[in-house]
């Protein structure tokens, strides 16, 4: 078990929390402006990166 994997687990949860905030700000129509779309892309990339690290650290 590595500290890096734990760190990335929190990073992913925090990034998804930012996504949760976007849901809150755009409900109930979820019409996104350019800035929000950019933020969502960043969240997705960040979570993917974290998952890759977790996978690398723990499974491969």
């Amino acid at each position: 078990m590595s500290e890096k994997a734990v760190q990335e687990t929190f990073e992913a949860l925090f990034a998804l929390t930012d996504l949760r905030q976007i849901f809150r700000e755009t409900k109930p129509t979820y019409e996104l402006n350019d800035e929000q779309k950019k933020k969502i892309k960043e969240v997705i990339e960040s979570v993917r990166r974290s998952l890759d690290v977790i996978e690398q650290e723990l499974i491969k």
Binding site: F10, T17, Q21, F23, P28
Partner: protein, 394 residues
């Protein structure tokens, strides 16, 4: 939506619906607070670095001591403590000042926990009547003090008045009342449960001896959480430390504060409050925008024939009491779902938080909604009215 475990559903209403619940919006967490909840949810999480003198507000990692100092400064007071809800703030002050049979002046719109705090100390509440606009004035407070003096032969021990009340969201004359309190030399507690954390509040500018706030009502924090702040003069009394010595063991716990029962708001609730604090400091500067939005909303809402606003106008707070007896309640009288038709219609439009089934007088709160959400909300009410043949002015 899946459950967390059987019987506990995921609560996603803030992500899925516009929530106009009267008491929930100011306590909606910031993303920073949500992250704090993820990281600090374990029981004694704030105690990892608790060192001498072993008291919550002295912990410096995370910077809890610094937070207390900044919180006092933010509120324009000398000292502050975090407590499990505003009610525990009332209790700490009342328990210090009030003895059996003492009178305490409260508003006719006082929260029930103010009553309970006085009852717990053996005191008696004396309510200041409202004026015709449902406002507590300095003059009415002075009259009540004189009434109490005449009736009991003694002055009240404390005046406890809400800055904004929970019923109408009206602003009460706390500055004028503070002056009256000073003239009579009666300590004044300003209940800022609906103010601290959403709008600028400065205790010294108000003239309050005590300020009490609610984390879960107005400080983007989980329940229970609250604040009690005071001046150095009163801090000596309300935040007094224990003098008790065990008769067998001779143990003493000298640093612990009696009214706080030692350490107060521990764990995730406190860290979430701290995590929200930078956003709270920023958002109070934008209270004017919130007022602009609620006034836009009520102006649109009043275009529906029969709708009334029972709170003071123009609105000075986002918490607002409305009367739809002359509009939606007329529909409810013949609708098979009775008053629940309005809840159904709102829910179909992804709006929740109204008092389900109520179509006469009820409350709503628009705090924190974006302009897009405010316009959507206003349009939804107008669309429902039109659907049921209620005239809408355009």
């Amino acid at each position: 939506m899946r459950n967390i475990i059987d019987g506990i559903e995921i609560r996603a209403r803030e992500e899925l619906f516009i929530n106009i619940h009267p008491i929930q919006p100011g306590g909606r967490l910031t993303p920073e607070a949500m992250k704090a909840m993820i990281s600090y949810g374990d029981g004694y999480s704030t105690c990892d670095w608790c060192r001498k003198p072993f008291r919550l507000d002295k912990i410096r990692r995370p910077p809890i001591e610094e937070f207390h100092a900044e919180l006092a400064e933010f509120l324009g007071m000398d000292q502050a403590r975090v407590v499990p809800g505003a009610r525990r703030g009332f209790q700490a002050v009342v328990s210090t000042l009030v003895e059996k049979g003492d009178s305490v002046i409260v508003s006719s719109l006082a929260h029930y926990t103010e009553f309970l705090a006085v009852e717990d100390a053996g005191g008696v509440v004396k309510e200041v009547p409202l004026n015709e606009a449902n406002i507590v004035t300095a003059e009415a407070t002075a009259r009540k003090i004189e009434e109490v003096r005449k009736e009991t032969g003694k002055l009240p021990k404390l005046i406890m008045i809400d800055y904004f009340d929970y019923m109408f969201g009206n602003e009460h004359d706390v500055r004028g009342i503070a002056k009256v309190a000073k003239e009579y030399e009666i300590p004044f507690l300003c209940n800022g449960a609906y103010a601290i954390g959403v709008l600028p509040v400065n205790g010294k500018e108000i003239g309050a001896d005590f300020l009490v706030g609610s984390g879960h009502k107005s400080f983007a924090s989980p329940a229970p959480s609250g604040i009690v702040a005071t001046t150095n003069e009163w801090a000596e009394k309300v935040f007094r430390t224990t003098q008790m010595v065990g008769d067998v063991t001779k143990r003493k716990f000298g640093i612990k504060e009696v009214e706080m029962l030692g350490c107060t708001l521990m764990g995730a609730n406190l860290i979430a409050m701290m995590a929200s604090f930078p956003a709270v400091k920023e958002r109070v500067k934008h209270w004017g925008d919130e007022i602009e939005k609620i006034n836009y909303f009520v102006n649109e809402f009043l275009k529906i024939e029969g709708n009334k606003v029972l709170s003071e106008m123009p609105r000075k707070h986002t918490l607002t009491k409305v009367d739809t007896s002359g509009s939606f309640d007329r529909v409810a009288q013949t609708h098979k779902r009775r008053g629940f038709f309005l809840s159904d219609e709102l829910r179909d439009r992804k709006i929740i938080g109204e008092f389900a089934g109520a179509t006469r007088t009820w409350k709503l709160n628009t705090y924190g909604l974006t302009w897009g959400q405010i316009k959507y909300l206003a349009q939804a009410f107008k669309d429902i009215a039109k659907k049921y043949g209620i005239k809408v002015l355009e």
